[in-house]
Symmetry: C2
Subunit: 218 residues, 2 copies
DNA sequence: CTGTGTGAATTTTTTCACAGCT
DNA sequence: AGCTGTGAAAAAATTCACACAG
């Protein structure tokens, strides 16, 4: 039923979902590709094409029913259920991630935390027991976890990702600043704020240096 | 001199930079597009095409000098200097960002922090004074800051971004889960781990719900 | 020989434009 | 009349393939 969907299309769907929820909260019942596109800075044709990969959700002359389209897209993205995740790496970054309140409302629940540092293992962070990495495989398989979040130093990340995938994890959210590889049965996405900044400085490179700490006031 | 570079090319350059530094640290002096491509999961032709937008860095029959290519790419990306940044939003996320040790080694220094909450303003976090948002514009202009980092709730983010750009900021790193818009003189990039997860669940959607006892093998 | 630089070919992605449903 | 769904056209990105430099 769903054929081969270009990845670039899948990447856009979550943005549609989020905007549709805003529209729903605003009490909007029907939206045109035009209006949705304006709000998301996407062309109407692209929205229609994207949605068309999955079915015919619109009513000609009218637009899309916000509630139904939202529900359908959530279903398509597999968001109609809760997803368990494990987090590896309980350093500063890992602790920030496990305390981040943005995952749960979207159905992502961190159910296990792992590290190798003896001083971390056995602790409880944000209500979750920190276990030794060696217990991870058993845990992942017992709990049926398919998502892993990696917050270890870059040097250790590939090995951790390998172990996650070997344990049964099929989707990895990587916070380590490196380019990981995974076997074809798994996916990985890297969150890297520094790289995001570095792509923008390209366009800024001829701007003036700001005043340094020793600069005189003007 | 540098013509119109496709954005998709610029996005890849920081990855090349990072891999080249690793190679340099390993003592590798020369690398082929083949070898670099293998390490980054990119085709050799793509690497050669990308680099070609900026000049001829390679030696035929030999490859690219790691040190020189690294330096040249850093210069192209504007990474040969320190960039000041301001952070807006000192909630849980903002405090994690300001304490994140990954920015400074790459030349991004957070020099100012802003919030509107009276209980935050006046505090010092990670050695940086938290000021009221109303002081931001003056600060940004006095210090010559071109980068803003946004860690406020989604509802407030667009207004904050508008104020940043109006203050003179030209690049915004947005941590709020929303789709911001900026005028053409500025750039914005959004860091959104939830969306990253949501693009991956699409491929996982037919996996079993996991609960210990009903684990299934294949 | 090896591996770059680069036009040409191919593939992918986006946009156009309009028939047809409501 | 308004707006979707969708082929066709256009644009963009990627890959091919090879002349040629070291």
């Amino acid at each position: 039923m769903i054929g081969e969907i270009p990845d670039v299309v899948v990447q856009r769907l979550p943005r549609y979902v989020r905007e549709l929820r805003l529209l729903l909260d605003e009490g909007v019942e029907v939206v045109s590709s035009q209006e949705l596109g304006t709000r998301l800075l996407v062309t109407p044709a692209q929205i229609r094409k994207d949605l068309n990969y999955f079915g015919r959700f619109g009513k000609q002359g009218r637009g899309y029913n916000v509630r139904h389209l939202l529900e359908d897209l959530r279903e398509i993205l597999g968001l109609g259920r809760e997803w368990k995740a494990v987090l590896v790496g309980m350093g500063r970054l890992g602790r920030a991630v496990i305390s981040y309140p943005g995952f749960a409302p979207e159905g992502f629940r961190i159910v296990g935390a792992f590290d190798v540092a003896p001083e971390m293992v056995g602790q409880k962070v944000a209500g979750i027991d920190v276990r030794h990495l060696d217990e991870m495989k058993e845990f992942v398989q017992r709990e049926g976890v398919y998502i892993g979040i990696v917050a270890v130093p870059a040097e250790a990340a590939q090995a951790v990702i390998d172990r996650l995938v070997e344990s049964g994890v099929r989707a990895v959210l990587n916070y380590a600043p490196m380019s990981p590889t995974v076997p074809p049965e798994a996916r990985v996405r890297t969150i890297d704020p520094v790289q995001a900044l570095q792509t923008m400085t390209f366009h800024l490179r001829n701007l003036q240096q700001g005043k340094g700490t020793t600069a005189k006031k003007r």
